[in-house]
Amino acid sequence: MLDPYLKEALVGKLTALADDEVVLAQRLSEWVAHAPILEEDIAIANLAQDELGHAKLYLELRQELDGSDPDQVVFLRDPLDYGNAVLVELPRGNWAFTMVRQYLFDAYEGLWLREAASSRYAPLAEVAARILKEERFHLKHSSLWVERLALGTEESHRRAQEALDLLFPYARQLFRPLEGEEALVEAGFVPDLKALEGPYLEEVGSFLKGVGLRVPEGGYVPKSRKEHTEHLWSLLAEMQSVARWDREAKAW
């Protein structure tokens, strides 16, 4: 049996992990039928589908702890209760913005999952190992795109740098722990985000510099996952509209 305090913290952490995936998947899916080339249309649909699959895995772990229904958590929860990072809710922007964001997120997830795969909470270790297998392809895809854009034309480079300047401080929010997360770290359930930030800055920094991009310094880093931009409201309004309109909707 889990200590009630740990259980509550774990429910919160799993929900935040799932929220990142769900919101990012929604942003990615906005590109379907609008991506620059057909292969990318297919790729982005794959990415969105993978992220939703990962959210489902996290929410099933939550369900085992508190009996919550994953569909309810995703489709009937208000924006103020969403615990995603601001990074994933920002509007999709242009292709460079979407790919730079994906790269920054994929690199964080790769580091986090590698550690989480040896979590002392066995169900999380299993889920992390599973997700990690799929994330390898995400990082390959997004890093290739960042490289292509950064080294492409003057215009593609400008757009990639512009996206990076805006997104980088938000990426650092991914390393801000939730309230109560220290207890989970102490129990060996989740990786220590603070210890991962250094390796992240090193890995991402050397890759970005390698392709001729400047890693921005400073900027506003949201302090908690309770902070959101107005963009989350419209995103969820669209995503949840069917479920809220017809709660009995079982098939599409």
Partner: protein
């Protein structure tokens, strides 16, 4: 009886790769039967696989057709790996035009062209028409082909 139910599962195809069944894919972890009560433990391949609900229904139907009255389909969390795929399954994939997954230690290498066998292939996209495949082009024969991801 167990044999018969197991044979029935071999009739359940992966809807996204219709030449393979779920047994040779390595998705079935176990089957227990007590008379006409059957319990199947299976694991999905990719976590976001949209065919999952369909596969569950097909398992149910195949077992009922084989005489089961009560069917329980349990989804296990054990990660699936392409190592669980049988050699025959890999051969079927190749014949179908899809480069089969490589042995796990070679996961970072490119697969040879399923048409002409050349190693001169270029990755066009790490994503394909389904979650489990990538898109390649062969430089030798020009064939654009899908490769099963090695996971």
């Amino acid at each position: 009886m167990v044999e018969r139910y197991f044979e029935a599962l071999k009739g359940v195809k992966d809807p996204e790769i219709p030449v393979l069944n779920i047994v040779e894919m390595g998705m079935v972890l176990g089957l227990e039967a007590e008379g006409d009560r059957v319990r199947v433990r299976f694991r999905p391949t990719f976590s976001g696989c949209p065919a999952l609900a369909l596969i569950r229904e097909e398992i149910q139907r195949a077992l009922e057709e084989a005489g089961a009255k009560e069917v329980e389909v349990v989804e296990e969390r054990t990660p699936w790996t392409t190592e669980a795929m049988t050699e025959e399954a890999k051969e079927k994939l190749r014949a179908y035009g899809v480069a089969p997954p490589l042995p796990l230690p070679m996961a970072h290498q490119d697969p040879p062209c399923p048409r002409c066998g050349s190693q001169r292939v270029v990755l066009k996209n790490p994503f394909g028409a389904t979650l489990c495949k990538m898109l390649y082009q062969c430089q030798a024969c020009g064939e654009v082909f899908e490769a099963f991801k090695t996971v």
